[in-house]
């Protein structure tokens, strides 16, 4: 029981806070419940398709495509692509986390992940229209023109400050990296896969066996 509560700290805290509010001020409690309705609706509409898309990406899109498009050497094109992904996405920033993490796991750079998330939050094509109609074109234009360059600067700074080892590994990737750690990591390609990463993935999927690694099997024979 305590473990479950610990695991879902947020829900527990929220439930307690609501309980206290209900006792102190039933009116506020009702207002909060009403607020929840619009939030939950937005979440239920957006989260399922987002999750389906990001998991389909992780299953179908090969890593080298992502590395080429969003990796450390993707340059200006990678930054533009990152802004576009964010601009044409839907939903609040928390819907962007799973997608960005999937791309990151597949080799997108830290900087580009930050650009995707920031663009996801601020640079929105449909939201731009809403902003113009409510706050005026000059307000929206100025805000966008100032924000976009800053997002790129932000990506650059984050790339400098946060290293790959600072970011946790996904469950799925953890198994792969455990296998990867046991490999010689010389990326010789003798097993038939392009590098040790690809080989580790194949072992995890049951397509290859550890013995297929030529370096491992030859060194074990010597001993």
């Amino acid at each position: 029981m305590i473990n479950i509560l610990k695991k879902h700290k947020l829900i527990t805290v929220a439930a307690l806070a609501y309980l206290v509010t209900l006792i102190c001020s039933p009116q506020t409690f009702m207002n909060a419940i009403r607020q929840n309705g619009s939030f939950l609706l937005e979440m239920l509409e957006i989260l399922p398709p987002i999750m389906v898309i990001s998991s389909l990406i992780s299953v179908w899109v090969p890593n080298d495509v992502i590395i080429k498009g969003f990796g450390n050497t993707s340059g200006v094109k990678g930054k533009l692509l990152s802004i576009l992904i964010g601009a044409f996405s839907a939903g609040p920033i928390y819907a962007g986390f799973p997608v960005a993490k999937t791309l990151y796991d597949k080799g997108a750079s830290v900087g580009n992940v930050v650009i995707i998330l920031s663009a996801w939050a601020v640079v929105k094509v449909p939201m731009y229209l809403v902003e113009t109609s409510f706050l005026g074109a000059s307000f929206a234009n100025t805000r966008y023109l100032l924000t976009i360059p800053l997002i790129i600067v932000l990506g650059y700074v984050m790339q400098r400050m946060v290293k790959r080892e600072d970011i946790p590994i996904s469950q799925l990737d953890r198994e792969i990296s455990e296998i990867y750690d046991k490999l010689p990591q010389r990326h010789c390609g003798a097993c038939g896969y392009t590098d040790c990463h690809e080989f580790a993935k194949a072992v995890k999927n049951g397509e290859a066996q550890m013995d297929d690694c030529k370096i491992l099997s030859s060194s074990s024979k010597k001993n």
Partner: protein, 158 residues
């Protein structure tokens, strides 16, 4: 509207995947289910807390602090309120207009809108689960300052 496009993309991608390989599609659904459950539980908690916060803080108070005599202080308030709240965008824009008409400073509104979407105090635990503490702290901190920078420049330009 975007939600509809999003759902259409997801359905098309899914059907394409199903057509190409049933096994891979099944695998991806398993991943999607896991992602959804773990994220949804946290998001429900976050949204519940934010709703409560919004219900407790009266809108008049928000108007007052974002339209104070000192514009720099208003900007700071705007960005702080944007940081601690999550409001769906389709509510945030009409609300901003209301606030502006009620006397909130333009720069404070700009700061509020930018931090509202980019900086998330409430989504901190979710972001941390995906990207780790260091990434999350730095990204939010830098985004906060970026939002204030945008707001101040807007005050100069407009």
């Amino acid at each position: 509207m975007t939600t509809v496009i999003l759902i259409v993309i997801a359905v098309c991608f899914f059907l394409w995947s199903l057509f190409k390989s049933r096994k891979k599609t099944k695998e991806s659904l398993k991943i999607a289910k896991g992602l959804f459950i773990s994220t949804a539980i946290q998001i429900i908690g976050v949204l519940a807390l934010v709703s409560l916060f919004l219900a407790i803080i009266p809108p008049e108070m928000i108007k007052k602090v974002m339209g104070g005599a000192n514009e720099a202080v208003s900007v700071l308030w705007g960005s702080l309120i944007g940081t601690v709240t999550i409001i769906p965008a389709f509510i945030a824009f009409p609300l901003s207009k209301q606030l502006m008409e009620a006397g909130a400073a333009l720069t404070a509104i700009a700061a509020f809108l930018t931090t509202l979407t980019m900086v998330g105090f409430a989504t901190f635990p979710i972001e941390k689960a995906y990207f780790g503490t260091k990434f999350t702290i730095y990204r939010n901190l830098f985004s906060f300052f970026a939002a204030i920078t945008v707001a101040l420049f807007m005050g100069v330009i407009l």
